[in-house]
């Protein structure tokens, strides 16, 4: 088996792939050298062979499957022990995996083993003309700026942020699948339990979601946000992680990558900065209104209608205007 220039890593949890994993294939298309489109998947976990087949059939890239016994719970520490010798043997130029907690646990160890760079939360990649060197793009400063990163010809391990490399299904000839068995290494980290996600059902059903961020200033101001939500039929209240962590709203009302993913008809973000971890959970909304006193806030890059205003002043006026409109038409 010839080693590949680009290796994409996927893992299996409870028999399933992460639904964002296909985006790695789209990333690889953008990153591959025109002259050498050599991409291979490495998929690992319990019963990985059936998902290995899916990867080979849908992307047309060769797949190496490392199937593990059911006792091998998925942890970054275990992935690191298994992947290091294989990648060391292959010496790829680019290793791509999703920017999840598990891959963040092991990306550094893999990069150090390969004498590679590690670029985290990657949102874009292109090849520079005329050097043909890869340039990686990611946001900084709460999403208000982007940074372009180069490795000076060194190989790179990248963890890719879901939602930035749209993947399209296309017809391909299914590629070859290679099975590997590895001795199960000892791991210094053990997965003890996994609890199901707890999402407030109202968030999934709501047509309008009014979301509060740290910019609401104090839990007392939640009453304003609640009154705003009450102006809309089938509405629900949500919050950023900061607001839920502070106990201002219940944890199951958190929207974002570590909370609920929502897709209402209308999403009103009040005092939310627009960090990618939040945006990842509300990108699917039909119409996004952002209210923020900082005209430079990143949330405005993800909004259809923007209002630069202080919430304490603006929300009472908006509520009044909405209530008045209602009276005018009744």
């Amino acid at each position: 088996m010839a080693p590949a220039r680009i290796v994409l890593i996927a893992d299996v949890e409870e028999g399933r792939l992460d639904p964002a994993v296909w985006e790695l294939a789209a990333m690889a298309s953008a990153a591959a050298d025109e002259a050498d489109r050599d991409v291979r998947w490495m998929v690992l976990g319990h019963e990985a062979s059936s998902v290995g087949g899916q990867l080979a059939a849908k992307t047309g890239c060769a797949v190496t499957v490392v199937s593990l016994p059911p006792a091998a719970a998925p942890t970054g520490a275990l992935w690191s022990e298994i992947l290091r010798p294989i990648l060391d043997d292959w010496q790829p130029d680019l290793v791509g995996m999703l920017h999840t907690t598990r891959f963040q646990d092991c990306a550094a160890a893999l990069a150090l083993a390969l004498d590679a760079a590690w670029i985290a939360a990657v949102q874009g990649v292109y090849r520079q003309v005329p050097t043909n060197d890869l340039v990686f793009q990611r946001t900084v400063m709460g999403g208000r700026m982007t940074a372009e990163i180069e490795t000076g010809g060194r190989p790179a391990v990248i963890t890719v942020l879901p939602g930035y490399f749209p993947y399209e299904d296309r017809e391909t000839a299914p590629a070859a699948i290679e099975m590997r068995t590895v001795p199960l290494p000892a791991s210094r980290i053990r997965l003890v339990a996994v609890g199901a996600a707890d999402c407030e059902p109202a968030l999934k059903q709501a047509e309008t979601i009014v979301a509060a961020g740290r910019g609401i200033g104090s839990p007392e101001n939640l009453a304003l946000v609640e009154r705003l939500a009450a102006c809309f039929p089938r509405s629900a209240l949500a919050g950023s992680r900061i607001v839920c962590d502070a106990g201002w709203l219940a944890p199951n009302r958190q929207v974002g990558v570590t909370g609920a993913s929502v897709a209402p008809k209308l999403y009103i973000a009040c005092g939310i900065s627009g960090a990618h971890q939040h945006v990842g959970g509300m990108q699917g909304a039909e119409l996004v209104v952002a209210i923020n006193r900082d005209s430079r806030a990143a949330i405005f890059n993800h909004a259809d209608i923007g209002v630069v205003a202080d919430l304490e002043v603006f929300l009472p006026l908006l509520i009044e205007a909405l209530e008045k409109e209602e009276m005018a038409t009744d």
């Binding site: 646990d105 372009e148 209308l266 205007a321 409109e325």
Partner: protein, 260 residues
């Protein structure tokens, strides 16, 4: 238990003086003009270490920062919150540093000092990478868990029990053997506020100062070559006028779209 809490001095994201575009024509960026403070996730990391200290006999917490002169403010605050000792690795580099550079310096300091646990924030609020902790772990060959929000040290000497939110809101409980590195996420343990009397005492406490050049760091491996404006995912229409006019415009727009 001997702990090292790594703390970063970051720009205050609410400061209007914080530049959000290149500060020179070569595409470089610095934030000297803006105010700074302790990275919020590092407050959580420090709080986690303080709570472990409360249940583990004979514990000690060293707080460490890598940064310019004014970064020492975060060590004062860490001492005020209850850290036992402050270590300032003085580094005056321009631009956005590589996480390998910072982690290399921390690992070089920590190497011969036998820390049972090294804690970092889940990410810094400015660069949002979350890489320093895992790279330190890799350099010191320690296991690493990222983004934990609860740490239970009462289970016994050998390890820690940690909780974290994984993707999609699922909650994982994991055990990690010591010595280890963890990165701490907001949530479980709200950071304490340092009392004024403790801050006054902290200001008198001598800091351990080391020049970055005096440590055997590692190569940067990657370099930020330019910063710029992010792409707009949607085309935003800003409403203008007075606050009241904006409120009426928004109400009318939402009505026109059939939302009320």
């Amino acid at each position: 238990m001997k702990m090292l809490a790594c703390i970063k001095f970051v720009p205050d994201s609410d400061d209007a003086a914080l530049p959000v575009k290149p500060t020179n024509t070569a595409g470089a960026w610095d934030w000297e003009a803006a105010a700074g403070r302790m990275n919020r996730y590092d407050e959580y990391a420090l709080e986690a270490s303080l709570q472990l200290k409360a249940v583990r006999a004979a514990s000690r917490i060293d707080a460490l920062t890598v940064g310019a002169e004014r970064a020492q403010a975060v060590l004062r605050r860490a001492l005020g919150m209850g850290a036992d000792h402050g270590v300032h690795i003085v580094r005056t580099g321009q631009g956005l540093p590589s996480p390998f550079t910072i982690a290399g310096l921390i690992a070089a300091y920590a190497k011969a000092r036998d820390y049972d646990l090294i804690l970092c924030g889940a990410m810094s609020e400015d660069l949002m990478q979350g890489q320093v902790g895992p790279i330190v772990a890799g350099l010191l060959n320690r296991p690493c868990l990222t983004s934990v929000h609860a740490l239970d040290g009462s289970a016994g000497r050998a390890g820690l029990r940690c909780e974290r939110d994984a993707q999609g809101g699922r909650r994982e409980t994991l055990e990690i053997d010591l010595p280890a590195v963890v990165t701490v996420q907001s949530g479980g343990m709200p950071p304490r506020y340092p009392a004024l009397s403790k801050m006054l005492r902290a200001n008198q406490y001598p800091l351990e100062r080391i020049a970055a050049e005096a440590l055997h760091g590692i190569e940067a491996r990657q370099r930020v070559v330019a910063v710029g404006a992010p792409a707009k995912e949607r085309r935003v229409q800003f409403l203008d006028g007075s606050a009241d006019e904006k409120a009426h415009r928004l109400a009318a727009l939402l009505r026109a779209r059939g939302r009320i």
